[in-house]
């Protein structure tokens, strides 16, 4: 007789001392893990529910300004520094790690219109309604010393915005003209002009650093090359664009925040039709900023909310609001991709998590792998109706809900009207125009 019985040696399965980990032999044979599909589905459902349970995006409120916040400047190297300008001309530098106002000074008479850090973060450039460009040291002065600008440049025309070049020592301002400056000189190197309208925002391309984009008050977006004497191209939309942000990773794309409640993402090479129209806001969009990954961006709106979009999707993935937050004027995405800052009319700067349900603080490897697993599950089962419903649901303020309903009714009415006109006209007389093409009037070279 040849006989062998399965006989487990307990030493291989039971830990010897309490200091050891429990021994957990695994066997991945599918027949030992029945009902794989339904169990995974339930896990995905739970993960989605937990995601909504833990969605607490508000981190803190930075109060200190004595008037509405008008603009932000992100430090290119320090994650804990943020400069904010207010309507009363005050600039504050925040220590975000300790949630304190590190420094404050009155920079301008009237509004601070723009703040930009130099490429190494040693200088701060501010422009204001008093037609001056002021350069400040980013280190606070010694105790007892006055806050003095390093340099002050008086301009002949109004200034509405400033942007610093990522790679060299030049910066650009906009106002009545677009001017390219050098840090060492008090006169602009170059001024560029197209038409007579006011330019109210300017932004350097982060990769192709000779290219700039401006938004003008004649509803156009203008592209410049700082090496050339003439502007490059211009595209005219149906309504005014308020702010412009370049995608930091796909630097040929940029997104503009428009007065008509939408955001438009353009490809520089093809300005005739936007790549994507981003809906969901119910009032004018005032500011937009990209995440450093270039996958997402955040937008601020006059409807007292901020929304987060995937760069390639039309509808927002999340909406942040509080009862006390008024019209949001400026917004910024931190360079570590974890936080969002919003500045609003009621003098507060708010700090939010970029991922509403993310756990802050130290995450142990097991926890991290569990989060990753839950992410994968949520993605895998995202199309299931029940999971989709839970993941998509957001509580929005009453005024937003009402405005959404109203906008939907208006849109439906327009569609019905267009269909009726089409029905009673000659075939082909009323063409179908895609939503993308409706908002771009013309492109000029």
């Amino acid at each position: 007789m040849k006989v062998k019985m399965m006989s487990r040696n307990p030493d291989n399965y039971i830990r010897e001392t309490k200091l050891q980990q429990h021994k957990l032999p695994r066997n991945y044979d599918p027949s030992l893990h029945p009902l794989e599909g339904p169990r995974e589905y339930v896990r995905a459902l739970n993960a989605t529910k937990l995601d909504r349970v833990f969605a607490k995006p508000f981190v803190c409120n930075l109060s200190g300004h004595r008037d509405g916040v008008s603009c932000f400047g992100k430090h290119p190297k320090l994650l804990s520094a943020l400069a904010t300008g207010a309507y009363d001309g005050e600039v504050r530098i925040w220590d975000l790690a300790n949630r304190l106002s590190a420094r404050s000074f009155i920079a301008h008479n009237g509004f601070v219109r723009g703040i930009a850090y130099a490429k190494n973060g040693e200088r701060i450039f501010t422009v204001g309604d008093d037609k001056t460009i002021k350069v400040w040291n980013s280190l606070a002065p010694e105790v007892g010393e006055e806050e003095e600008p390093v340099n002050t440049v008086q301009c002949r025309y109004g200034l509405h915005g400033i942007s610093h070049n990522r790679k060299d020592n030049s910066f650009a301002t906009c106002g009545e003209v677009c001017a390219i400056w050098d840090e060492q000189h008090n006169d602009p190197l170059k001024t560029l002009k197209w038409g007579v309208d006011t330019l109210h925002t300017i932004s350097y391309n982060p990769v192709e650093t000779n290219v700039l984009a401006c938004c003008a008050s004649d509803r156009s977006i203008i592209l410049y090359d700082q090496r050339e004497a003439q502007p490059l191209r211009r595209v005219l939309l149906t309504m005014k664009s308020n702010k412009l942000a370049w995608n930091p990773m796909e630097a040929f794309n940029f997104t503009v925040a428009n007065e008509d409640c939408n955001l438009y993402t353009f490809d520089t090479r093809k300005l005739q039709t936007p790549l994507k129209v981003h809906f969901d806001h119910v009032s004018a969009v005032t500011d937009v900023d990209y995440a450093p990954t270039g996958r997402e961006f955040v937008s601020a709106s006059y409807d007292k909310t901020i929304r987060i979009y995937h760069a390639h999707q039309s509808h927002s993935r999340d909406i942040y609001h509080t009862k006390r937050m008024q019209h949001v004027v400026c917004v910024a995405w931190s360079l570590d991709n974890r936080y969002i800052f919003s500045g609003s009319d009621e003098m507060n700067v708010r700090m939010w998590k970029s991922n509403a349900s993310e756990k802050l603080g130290i995450i142990r490897p097991r926890e991290r792998s569990n989060f990753n697993y839950q992410e994968a599950l949520k993605e895998k089962y995202a199309a299931h109706p029940q999971i989709k419903r839970i993941a998509r649901h957001r509580q929005v303020p009453r005024h937003v809900l009402n405005a959404q309903r109203k906008m939907r009714a208006v849109k439906e009415k327009d569609q019905v009207k267009e269909a009726n006109v089409r029905k009673h006209s000659k075939p082909g007389k009323v063409p179908y125009v895609s939503e993308k093409k409706k908002h771009v009037l013309k492109e000029e070279v």
Binding site: M6, N27, L35, E36
Partner: protein, 608 residues
């Protein structure tokens, strides 16, 4: 186990030149005339002699365009696949690949292809973990001129190690025919005697948890999700007890229960009673999620299919019907025997259904195909009264007080020629009333009218358990942890269907649904049209005009709808009649003549 992760996209054939790469021509010049020797790991090095030159890992040393034949031979994919035998990959595979050919856009096609690469990788990694399994299955081989069926238990016990020999034991009990259950991890045993005796113990260490008499008849016993709680079907109601024998609960809604079963992933206690009711009790909520009359009469045979949670009920008419708690009709029915059934079981993998009837046959059915022909047929001299299938596919059956096991469900059966002999035989002192293989052990438990036998069956149990699923060595802390996780993953009873993976598939309409949709087209009614006329200034048309306008709009809408439906009907009829006409004789109509009007008119067809 360190391996390069899979790559979705094929590598570009020509590696891009990087700033740190040296000039290729110069490198070639250096190595001219020297033979490159491949660097091996230390434990693989068996080359004796001088190394001329180590091949470095830098890209510069590779030829820019490898010649094609060589590239095929050293294709990394091929080399990788050859490590894992295909039958092992098939065991861990989750089905066939999705063909990217039918996918419409390039983006999704690429996405699908990349996903398949990752799935392949996952399958392979799972298959490679076979190496790490610690135990091997037991086996029993006969010597020259002997057969395994003639070995007695005492002989086997004498020839195995002490630990295994201690698993062979016998309990002589006096409270009448016994039923028994092993816990899911195979560590604990529950015995219930017809005359009220209930005993729970750790059968490996022989440590008794509790033993008492309920002073009522006991029809069946069943462990719940943890080996600290169990249910006992008593004379009229079902009672829950804990490990110490304390009564936790009495479920009066489950009456006259004959058979109990437990669905561990759904937390459902299934019961079949003598009036033909099938009931599912959610033990985590204490709620009856399903309770209805199956119309089968007294339910004596009840087993759940572990792979999908469907309850199989065997009837006295030889029909096995499959039930889900949320559907009042059986999901499937299978005529297994022309006589009454005596026993039924489902194998732990959920692939086969084994039934026995009074016609002395034991049949093995494919539970997923539900063909009318059994896969295997065992012809016995007496009808089998108990059946069970082990984790590794061994079949045990009892005829009266006589038990036989067969090594394989499908090929082990004698189909009349009696050449296939049983693997092991055992004669008990009394009629066998319960028969279960112990999970993760080479042991078969037999409960008889006079007690309990633990029989050694080498090679029946799965040797390697997964500790996150069932752990025979679990501590109380681990058990609690496991309970919480299991509760979080409790599958809702609505998901009990014949195909458990339905939820991961695409929700495409079935043929029946398509047919129904077409059929419905012929009974559609125009929907009610609600129209609110616009408010007009005073004096601009009265109510009469408004209501007339309303009527006009309604009429046009209804007409439009009717026209649409008619069009759709026509297309359906055309679609179905054209194929018929092609098949049948299609006579061309004779040309109409002027005098045709005097012909008698054909009678109108009545609606059927």
């Amino acid at each position: 186990m360190s391996k390069a992760p899979p790559k979705g996209r094929a590598k570009p054939k020509v590696p891009y030149k990087r700033y740190f790469d040296t000039d290729n021509a110069a490198a070639d010049g250096d190595t001219a005339g020297l033979q490159p020797v491949k660097l091996k790991r230390k434990n693989q090095q068996n080359v004796v002699g001088e190394f001329i030159r180590m091949q470095t890992q830098s890209k510069a040393s590779k030829p820019l365009r490898p010649n094609k034949v060589k590239a095929e031979a050293t294709d990394p994919d091929e080399a990788r696949k050859s490590h894992v035998p295909p039958e092992l990959l098939a065991k861990y595979s989750r089905g066939e690949k999705v063909e990217a050919r039918g996918v419409k856009t390039r983006h999704f096609k690429e996405q699908q292809e990349r996903k398949e690469v990752y799935l392949d990788y996952a399958t392979e990694q799972a298959a490679r973990t076979e190496l790490l399994l610690q135990e091997t299955a037991g086996q029993l081989g006969a010597d020259e001129g002997e057969i395994t069926a003639e070995y007695r238990q005492e002989q086997i016990a004498a020839n195995v190690d002490l630990q295994s020999a201690s698993k062979h034991f016998q309990l002589k009990l006096e409270f009448g025919p016994y039923t028994m259950r092993y816990s899911k991890n195979g560590r604990h045993l529950l015995l219930g005697g017809r005359r009220g005796h209930v005993a729970a113990f750790d059968w490996v260490t022989k440590k008794l948890h509790c033993e008492f008499n309920v002073m009522e008849s006991v029809a069946d016993v069943q462990w719940l999700h943890v080996p600290t709680m169990y249910a006992v079907a008593q004379k009229s109601w079902v009672y829950f007890y804990d490990k110490k024998g304390t009564e936790l609960h009495c479920v009066k809604r489950l009456t006259n229960v004959n058979r109990l079963d437990f669905l561990p992933y759904h937390f459902l206690l299934a019961a079949g009673n003598s009036a033909g009711y099938a009931s599912w009790l959610d033990v985590s909520m204490g709620e009856l999620v399903g309770n209805f009359n199956t119309g089968l009469g007294d339910i004596r045979l009840l087993r759940h299919n572990p792979s999908n949670g469907v309850l199989c009920v065997g009837g006295s008419r030889g029909v096995v019907s499959m039930w889900s708690p949320k559907v009042r009709e059986p999901l499937a029915k299978l005529l297994c025997h022309s006589t009454a059934m005596t026993a039924m079981t489902v194998d732990p993998k959920g692939l086969h259904l084994v039934t026995a009837g009074l016609d002395r046959n034991v049949k093995v059915w494919d539970i997923r195909m539900l063909n009318d022909q059994p896969l295997a047929l065992f012809r016995l001299r007496l009808p089998a009264n108990e059946l069970d299938v082990s984790q590794r596919g061994m079949l045990a059956l009892s005829q009266g007080n006589y038990m036989e096991t067969y090594t394989d469900l499908l090929s082990g059966g004698g189909t009349g020629d009696r050449t296939k002999l049983p693997y092991l035989r055992q004669r008990c002192d009394a009629f066998v009333h319960g028969l279960r293989f112990c999970p993760y052990e080479d042991v078969l438990g037999l409960s008889t009218a006079k007690g309990f036998h633990s029989v050694l069956v080498p090679g029946s149990g799965e040797p390697n358990y997964d500790a996150l699923e069932d752990n025979p060595y679990e501590t109380s802390k681990q058990r609690r942890e496991h309970e919480v996780h299991a509760l979080l993953e409790k599958i809702p009873p609505e998901l009990i269907t014949l195909d458990p993976n339905e939820i991961t598939g695409v929700d495409a309409p079935t043929l029946q649904e398509k047919i129904d949709a077409k059929r419905q087209l012929f009974h559609l009614k125009p929907p009610a049209i609600r129209m609110n006329s616009r408010r007009k200034m005073k004096g601009r048309g009265g109510t009469a005009k408004a209501s007339r306008n309303k009527q006009i709009v309604k009429d046009t809408k209804r007409k439009e709808f009717i026209a649409e439906v008619r069009q759709a009907k026509k297309s359906v009829i055309k679609q179905h009649s054209s194929s018929k006409e092609l098949a049948g004789d299609s006579k061309p109509k004779p040309p109409r003549s002027v005098l045709d009007r005097f012909k008698p008119k054909p009678q109108k067809k009545h609606k059927t």
